[in-house]
Assembly symmetry: C3
Homo-oligomer: 478 residues x 3
């Protein structure tokens, strides 16, 4: 089969010829622009160690919670997909069997972004020439297996092959960043950076919270049992992340978007309670809320972009979590409130020049109601791209459709892929670029903007907005 049949050049463009032609023309301008990936979850050891990846199944199936989720929902056991349980009972170890199970059920992904990403990996990254399915699974396994053993498919080579200007990983506040440090004297230092994600030292619902604060104290020399010392320790780790990991941003995955602005004496009381393990759910929530405001204050000083990712009910499936642990596709979105929740932070810091706060949501009902009006007013706010479950063509259209008329384009933060599936990075950015061009083509064809404006916007959406929102300092594209 031809590549064009497997991966149609007009895929995701509007079907109406007049609109498709506009989308094509816009896409031609952006498809070869370098990738900026300012928020993701790839493993930094890949880039420091630069070892070949393992088998196709280990690379593409076992760690991908999107795949596991869909297959599990249709009755396929995680064991058959090679996922080890905590009790050490055996999982499938033959990568070809795992691969065959996936191929047999590939039809389940029709209409999902996973299908688009995997097709891109099969036909574009690895050059398969037959449609993936039960009959071709073995041949395509061999094709991929052969290539990932070559030097051309080592992680650093892939950075070049994928034309990635910059990729950000995410590490916890206590991480030593040794993989980032190892890159320091290489050509890749500028291209692989970290992100400061201090949830483990802020979320007192986690059983290891008190222990983490002791470790934090040991790393920084500050007394983390005192409020001021705790904040100083946070400042020190932020500085460490900037210096050693070249971080330009922090990230916060709280259950809600709550923020607070409490007097210091209240903060110390909350810290005491959280450390004692006796804090109620309301108190740990209030502590996180206060810390989001503190983090915004620190961002004003040190220039780091603040990212807020609220609204996921983590490990919703208790028995599955007990058996297999986190990140197996069992995190479920919840309704989120932004207007009231963010008010304390925004009234304290929202007008500060230089502060950059990027808001994400899993609750699309907030796009038009709360997020676009907030981002369309507060100078510090930008809206992150459609996140996680919404990182898909139609969800991207809904985002632009519901956000643009109130917030415009320039209060959005460009695309980021948010993925640990490194091989899918080009596919994800390609989908985003195609859908941005799709949306712009709709506006042009209804005479809402001119083609000249759409051309400028297509490049801003692809490159400049992310560069600006994360203060990456890369050269603007025109």
């Amino acid at each position: 089969m031809t590549h064009d049949k497997l991966l149609h050049p007009d895929r995701l463009f509007p079907a109406l010829p007049a609109q498709r032609d506009i989308a094509r023309a816009l896409y031609a301008r952006v498809k070869d622009l370098p990738i900026i990936s300012p928020h993701g979850h790839t493993d930094p050891s890949w880039f420091s160690g630069n070892e070949n990846f393992d088998t196709p199944a280990d690379l593409l199936i076992v760690p991908d919670h999107y795949l596991l989720r869909m297959l599990y929902s249709q009755g396929i056991s995680l064991v058959d997909l090679g996922v080890s349980s905590k009790d050490g009972s055996p999982a499938e170890t033959d990568p070809r069997k795992i691969w065959a199970t996936f191929a047999k059920h590939y039809y389940l992904f029709a209409g999902t972004p996973t299908r688009l990403w995997m097709d891109h990996v099969f036909y574009d990254v690895f050059g398969a020439t037959e449609a993936f399915g039960p009959d071709t699974a073995d041949a395509i396994y061999d094709l991929i297996d052969g290539q990932i053993k070559s030097d051309d498919f080592k992680p650093r080579a892939l950075l070049d092959r994928f034309n990635i200007d910059l990729i950000a990983t995410t590490e916890g506040a206590l991480d030593d960043l040794k993989h980032h440090a190892a890159l320091d004297c290489t050509d890749y230092a500028r291209r692989v950076i970290t992100t400061f994600r201090p949830d483990d030292c802020i979320d007192a619902d986690k059983p290891q919270f008190a222990g983490n604060l002791d470790t934090l104290s040991g790393l920084t020399g500050f007394n983390t049992r005192e409020w001021n010392g705790y904040l100083d320790a946070m400042r020190a780790r932020r500085e460490y992340f900037r210096k050693v990991g070249r971080a330009t941003a922090t990230d916060h995955g709280h259950p809600t978007a709550a923020t607070a602005d409490l007097p210091k004496v209240e903060c110390q009381k909350l810290l005491d309670l959280c450390l004692s393990g006796k804090a109620t759910a309301q108190q740990t929530e209030l502590f996180r809320a206060q810390m989001l405001t503190e983090m915004a204050g620190m961002s004003i000083t040190d220039g780091m972009t603040l990212q807020i990712h609220p609204g996921s009910y983590r490990n919703h499936n208790a028995p599955l979590f007990a058996r297999y642990g986190a990140d197996k596709g069992a995190d479920i979105p919840m309704r989120v409130n932004y207007t009231q929740s963010l008010q304390p932070l925004l009234s304290k810091y929202g007008n500060e020049p230089g502060l950059k706060v990027i808001l994400f949501t899993l609750d699309e009902s907030n796009y038009a109601r709360e997020l676009a009006p907030l981002a369309g007013h507060y100078p510090c706010l930008k809206l992150g791209p459609p996140w996680w479950f919404h990182d898909s063509p139609q969800a991207m259209l809904r985002f632009r459709d519901q956000v643009t008329e109130t917030a415009g384009f320039y209060n959005t933060a460009g695309f980021n892929d948010d993925t640990r599936a490194f091989l899918s990075v080009p596919a994800r950015h390609d989908v985003a670029r195609r859908m941005d061009c799709h949306f712009l083509a709709l506006l042009v064809s209804e005479h809402k903007i001119t083609m000249t404006e759409a051309e400028r916007l297509s490049i801003d959406l692809t490159y400049n907005l992310a560069n600006d929102a994360y203060s990456l300092g890369l050269e603007r594209k025109v």
Copy 2:
């Protein structure tokens, strides 16, 4: 006027020729497939008694709360539509006058699904050749009146005429199922089945709750004042519904989707409170929540599919309810939560092989946020089709648009018509088939799926998914 003008062959297909052609081709494959109607509210006495229907007004207007609702909203009194009030004050009894009132206001339904369904009934089921309206109302009345008096329009003949493989009615837990029993030795036994809907014996907010439990005790011989006896009585009725009514599913219309997993001693206390009539709103809610989990447990044992239909504020218009009773179009949807509400049930039973739970919603904001992620993970969950207010072309598109990218097609449960308006059953299934083909055509035209996949999906969505979700055991279509 030609039939094609009154009922355009391309209605509901995309207007873009390239997409319309795909939709046409897909629809040609499914339009003549038999109807499966696994969730509905037709009257089983129709099929056991097989009597002719009454006048056109009694058949098509008086019992249809969609019609009453719209006409009432525009100031037409229910009395003029033939609806009797509880106090016995007279309502319009002349069916031709009721019919004329409806015809005069038929323009109000422009853009609503009622218009599509009624047009289908007029022009397709009864073969009217003039557009329905004030001027043609009398002639069309005569046309229909003549036909419904014939043998060809008796209920069983209509099952054949409508090509209905199977239709499920819904009965309360205390129903004797005599109409289903009467079908037992007929050719229609396999085609008309019941559904077990025990709300009257679970919802302690209903004044007759305690009395119902006494009746339940009398029917089953179990002591329904003791928790274990109450559960055993439920099991006995489920078995009765399976044996006598050939039921394969249960249905639960709670105000919320709350579930619980309480210790038995708490359950007995709640039961005592509910029987005493002194339970608070929180306690009756918790009792219903616990019972949803119990019902899921019983489903694992007896294989019945569990349907959850939450989120309707019943009888919102208090004076109207006092005067005319329920089901007059005054039930209003409320915001619903699924992620937190269903967690107790899902963590207890959500991973059990064989369990089938179908979720419905009146709150579309849950499609992308909660329902698709839940169904895209838990093996027991399937999403029911757009329900009630959302059983309409654009609402069907919104459902597919917001659900598919996360849950795919195979975590949905096919279509069901949920109607007591028997004459509209073919129309409703036709709308659903057209809109599924419409949606698939969009995906094909944007190169997201292939035509071959769309062909398979069109048949699965029309027949196989409902057959599977309700364990109907009919032969799969290919």
Copy 3:
């Protein structure tokens, strides 16, 4: 550049030729119909005094919170936009500099309705022939400045030029309506009316509440410290507004849609608490809730249409409010509940013949879930057009898409512009007319309604529905 290039004749119509042609044909029938603007915020002194407007910047930029909001969100200070702070520190006073700042950032509005409205003002109202931007700003400033000094652009002349049959302003309950009184003996009396907005005398969260009730007492002679006297005073002011300001409607901007139906003794207690300044947030909320029901009761008697505009978090940005005051773009929508909130009012008065209640929302998630089902049942309810942040092309499509299938067209209230930006009134109505024709064209092209129906609907949506909903008594258009 030609006018057609700057303001394309097919703008906002569907791009598909078959649909565009239908939209064009429908639009041709309605584009020249007179404007009815039954809910707005223009300044009545403009029409009584009939003075020329000031500079282009004072007319088009400084008072427009849509413009201020977007520019502020991108870091432009309000001072540079000519907005004075309360402390008297100087703002930019040179209108050309303000104009230049706006022009430099005009690209930010790409994709927003502000862009559509301003383009209409530039190219249609003032006849500019070059695209507005930094290079043409000065010339266009001169063009506008010249015209607004002429008699042809005085406020009354603009009423004629804009073909406005009627425009309603909005005044607080204590307003003397002198500007409306001054119009009494002119040709404009019938065309400029007021709206009764008593929030200042109902919302006890406002610090001046008790003082306002004293003033209300002084104006009416009733003892507003007693519940009955307070209600009588309200009745008196409603009558005054009808007589002096020719008002046909009231308007209520509460934080929520809560309503209540309390015994009189409870009402007096709440009034006492509210006057004492010691009422809790729950009590002031309950007081407002009760008053919404009282206002509905008065509407039954005096025939005024009741408008409910809930769900705005006013002055969300506390420091900005402290410095610059209200209406600077810092009001943010909140999630709203209608089903439970409106139940007390609707069960008391919802079935009364003649009562007209128009519901607005900033929370689109309510369109399909709550608002369409409510309006599709209660005879008193109509849905107002997409409001404020949703007064934009795509938001209008979402409104029709999510409302029509349940509520039809005839439970909606036509368009209103809700603006203080007088020059943008024709643009806003033009956008609404184009989008209604756009939506109708979609229905016709998918054979859901006939062209004949669409023609009737286009005129009803443009003129008759607003005329009816606000009881304006203008001649119906056919």
